[in-house]
Symmetry: D2
Subunit: 414 residues, 4 copies
């Protein structure tokens, strides 16, 4: 339905031509400094009309915070946010409305609900993502302030043109590239947002070609999440990669998701693909991995390495090219979309991918913090780290303190 | 956590060496004929020891139904099912336990929970999937009886060897192949479960090579779901492909998911990739699509076409090859797994992929049936089908046809 | 948190002095005729300033529908509604702010969140209930159109003055009274909303006395739900009375809940308290009960009789009487609230109790409709109704049709 | 449905005559010492056959832990527990089965599910509560170890005989009585569990009278929760009293719930009923209240005082007295229950009430710990406690550190 997350929980609403679109965010940590200035930047990155390659409609999309903050701080109560729709009139019907648009949601929405919004795709419109991006602004701010976590996405392919690095899972150069990428750098490669001058140019040309043909083309967005705390993700069903996949595949027009080495990784033998452990470069009490085929998640749980994943977006369904198809009433006909349409969605998808990633990480953090708080109130249990032998676990090495408490094998430390 | 689904809701439990593994299934339709014979077959397909290519351990895995049925019918109350673990002793510790196994969940489980099961990976073990497969037995039985829905998965690649058809999104031959595949056919290609004599053989040889090298290799499983009712999937966040992605990426060892044309589809222009509508071959009141790049889902909602998707599984992390890695205590060392291990998981993953797909479809069906029931208690609202004009929506233009059918385009009255 | 319900799901937001208060309602049946005119009446009944007995602030409280409808019909997508706050300025601080107000939420909110809204109680303010009442407008409209279900609450006591009938569980006169009550009748007894001239007058005088003393007094609200479909409620944890209790006790200032005969019923022997069955007066295929001590729910499931329950509301905590208490900083002091305050909340609580009841019934209906749809797709199972013998259930009386289908004991009809 | 709680989440299963009854508990804190010895005592207190006043059936009810622990500690993974049913045969049908038993769940279960368990009430049987009590054993152990929280319930009335103290809301004697009560003391007053020699005796006699008449009688159970951390409860919908009400009203045979002063409290003026603050007797940084009419919860959030509440249980529906009622088929008849039945459930309800209270508090604690962890990672926001003035909140007393961080008014400490 229209709610995502359990502890940090976002509920969105809004169609293309109703009064507004927006969200309610519940479970916001209290005491977070928050104003509309924290939310607006990603909404502005998301909106159309940023270049000749995206749709010209300029929606402005100014966010309003309606609740949950006072004097610039969150209260811990639900934060409601909204963006007014500029064009609030339902659509005027025309010849085009006799057709369910191919690969659009017209047919399935009508079948599912028995009624559908007059135009713009209603809830299947990309405009629905405004609520997600606004909500993620809160998550991002919190994660940045408390863990310096960052979410950086970029265009990794348009049609058959791929940024080569992104096809070399875990090459040291690729890992280095991901470690140093910033949004500023990505946005310096407008309009495509592929952070490589040569490929940004090639991809831009390809999109322009499809635009000129009134056709469209797909692509992929890759995202890296840095400074993720160890331990996020809730086995078995809510493994971190499962939640990320869910989140990404809920974005309109997505067709695929892969984490770390992904589909290419299936062809790499275990002896190479296994990420061997090394001492952690900065934390002597932890471990890191020498490679990162896993993409920062093992057993469904973050391991502290960079999380990176790729999302496939299909070629936009709205095209000016004439399409031989069938009307709702079963009669054949030819459909030709009017106006200008996005020939490729990936440049604008970049902040949406970042937003959904932030929602996933924030919710997972809240859940894990609850567990850590619960566990930290208990005496420590004897654990491996070189100590884990049958004898120890059997209790033959009881500590005096443990004996006193009557709580079995308890150690002051691991 | 350990619950999946909202209306048809599965909660699983169990580690490798506790008393049992199993599940509670809530929201089971009452009056469904159900015995252990309905559940056992997929559990048997799932268990190891079916061939020289999979692990030799024969767990038997006989399911017991503990509640929720009487005289062979479900009561609508929770169905608890369990499979006893044959080996219920915790693990004897050894040198190997000083190491977090590379690309295993040892390190992350310990970090997350501050404690971990002595062996076998605990909840990260494939043995955890028994509860899922048992629960799916109920979903499959219901869906087969009521909608003739079928779930058929097969191995589409092992390492670099791909069944070529599966790399031709929406070629007519591939669509035909998916429409006719059966589990019986898939199982006639043991041990690999690639339903093509030539490729089954090639893949089997490749797996054997890796087994002999004490190494491992990954692969992909493709699944087709046939006879899915139109209208399943809950926008915006619970789009049907998002739930499928979530479900698949929650299976141990998965690295990627793609629906329909998937990643390859991003390279196909919209003018081709759009699935144009045609009159429905058997239902004159509905439409079908000429192609199926979408993989049976548009706007997050099933459109009645076959749903097909592909899941990537990594090379198993447990290998006999010596690995230079680091102990929990930060000291370097060389880890060499003993015993025989699965060199490739995809053959055994086939019934698990089918199971998770069945859980997703069943839950989505329950949600949509609720909506349809709610909506069908209301008078019909005027709808498009070639008639959708503002005037019509206002109710001023009744059609004769609508009058006759008492459905479809019906105005009249509230 | 701020979400209530699973299939029909309401999320509310808003404090007293933020921009607006409101809600998002997800799971709305598509095709329901709905405009703001359907929502406003209960909001108007709820707002303060309706008489000399309630607080003079006139909030106006005009609702806006922001999404989820088009041309006067619901789309099945989330319906967002809001009411602007007229006074959007945070509170000016004064001497009073040095005190946590006794029996208010000041202390607990601050302890819980580490921060609290400047005034008005934030989310603990009765203003928060606007979102609930707005959401319930949708539920009520749907239930009225499809099942003629009605929700009618009234004031049953103020302080020690009780409407005598409501203390006679299941007297025929009381049952008759509940069967015939309407909102119009209740509202003809303003300001107290006790639908009995004598007691309305007495209660009104008592409230006026407490108002004049700058003190406050509590009371109870009783609610009857008529035309509830049989079968609502989800054992074990979501029994219908459990959800009603949850809903009512989530209303600010509530202290108790009882269903049917309630606490008095504990003193009535089983031989009298048991509701014996009688043939249903209008439906020959069903049964009714001769008495209704159960309050329309047995085993957590509605039985088709009227549901009635009583809710206790405490004396309002904000009073003008001087109170010797303690400041946040631990120093003693005397607190005296300024301005005029509600001396008794029950008159205004009437529409809020109705609203929460409607949300519970609507959600329960959606869940049960899902089950009924699921079960109705299966062949009927042989059931009691005079036929339920061991032989029949064992299958020795298989029907031919059942044999053919291979589905065990199945009868054409019950 | 059959799941309760969100972070600490219990799912139960089982009917009277299936293989077993039990539960899966998800969200268990890892590292908790836990064996079956922790679970059994409350199960033994709950089971029938403890005295001449309760039903003679001795079910034994030995619990087995099936998962989630190793070497006596919880792993953080789901804990499955079960109790085998000794009598696993479905019921032999008889004349009695032609009748829906008055005030039982026979009629409503059949209407809801279209099928029902052969006997014993299926899921509506008190045997279903075994899973709840087992799950609560984990919650209680955790809360006792970490917060010394205790849950103590007792019988406060049988029929019209009330323990007088429990009708004097917040008399100092009653508060003292609640503060000192222990389970040991309660159990020293078997069979009734009313911890007062005189009233225990009177109540026992009354129950015996009803038993001898083959009739039944109701009563109330009161429960006190001590050492509850401040801050538990999730406004708006999941206020702590709302969750407690939900939990209690989900226990079979309950008819009412009241918190603190409850229904009697509605008759007490605000000037008395308000719980004035006093300096906390042991914690100089906090406050306590001089009285406790609120029952330990204000604004839906625990305030650190004792939580106490009362639950009404109806007279058991199964009685030997002949009842003139109607068969499923609409024919009149006389029903006479055979065998011996519980003439009053409240003595056995005591551990069930304690169990549900523990599940509520545990889940609320997990949620609040998550919030506290989230908030504690942020810089502190300036807060009242004697400091809260308009100037401070406006930022005119900014700290240097806050200035640097650009985060407004932030103090090192409150």
């Amino acid at each position: 339905m229209s709610t995502f997350g359990s502890s940090f929980r976002v509920t969105t609403y809004g169609e293309s031509h109703c009064r507004s679109v927006g969200c309610i965010v519940d479970g916001v940590p209290p005491g977070l400094p928050l104003t509309e200035e924290d939310i607006q930047p990603q909404l502005s990155r998301r909106r159309p009309g940023q270049s000749a390659l995206t749709t010209p409609r300029n929606e402005k999309d100014r966010v309003q915070i309606h609740s949950g903050t006072e004097f610039g701080y969150t209260l811990g109560t639900p934060v409601a946010m909204m963006v007014l729709n500029e064009d609030q009139r339902p659509h005027d019907y025309s010849e085009m409305d006799l057709y369910p648009r191919p690969s659009h949601a017209d047919f399935t929405y009508l079948q599912k609900y028995g009624i559908k919004a007059s135009s713009g795709g209603g809830r299947s419109s990309a405009r629905e993502t405004i609520g997600r991006v606004a909500a993620a602004g809160i998550a991002e701010k919190y994660l940045r302030m408390t863990h310096n976590t960052s979410f950086t996405a970029f265009v990794s392919s348009v049609g058959p043109i791929h940024l080569p690095l992104t096809q070399q899972p875990d090459s040291p150069e690729y890992m280095e590239f991901l470690s140093n990428l910033t949004r500023e750098k990505v946005d310096s490669f407008l309009p495509v947002r592929c952070p490589d001058a040569e490929y940004n140019e090639k991809m831009g040309q390809l999109i322009a070609e499809y635009r000129d043909k009134k056709d469209s083309i797909g692509g992929t967005v890759t995202c890296v999440i840095r400074n993720v705390p160890v331990g996020l993700g809730e086995p078995c069903f809510d493994k971190l990669e499962a939640k990320l996949a869910h989140a990404m595949m809920s974005i309109p027009a997505t067709k695929g998701f892969e984490i770390g080495s992904g589909f290419l990784g299936t062809e790499i033998p275990g002896s190479i693909h296994n990420d061997k452990f090394i001492p952690h470069p900065t934390d002597p009490t932890s471990l890191a991995t020498a490679t990162n085929y896993s993409g920062g998640i093992q057993g469904g749980i973050s391991n502290g390495q960079n999380i990176y994943f790729k999302v496939a977006f299909k070629s936009p369904a709205t095209i000016g090219v004439a399409q031989d198809t069938t009307k709702y009433n079963g009669q054949p006909g030819t459909l030709e979309a009017k106006g200008r349409h996005d020939p490729c969605v990936v440049p604008r998808a970049v902040p949406i991918v970042e937003a959904m990633a932030a929602l996933v990480i924030m919710d997972a953090l809240c859940l894990q913090q609850s567990r850590e708080a619960a566990r930290s109130a208990l005496p420590r249990v004897a654990q491996p780290m070189g100590l884990k032998t049958k004898e120890v676990m059997d209790g033959s090495e009881r500590t005096e303190e443990a004996e006193k408490k009557g709580q079995g094998v308890v150690f002051g430390d691991e």
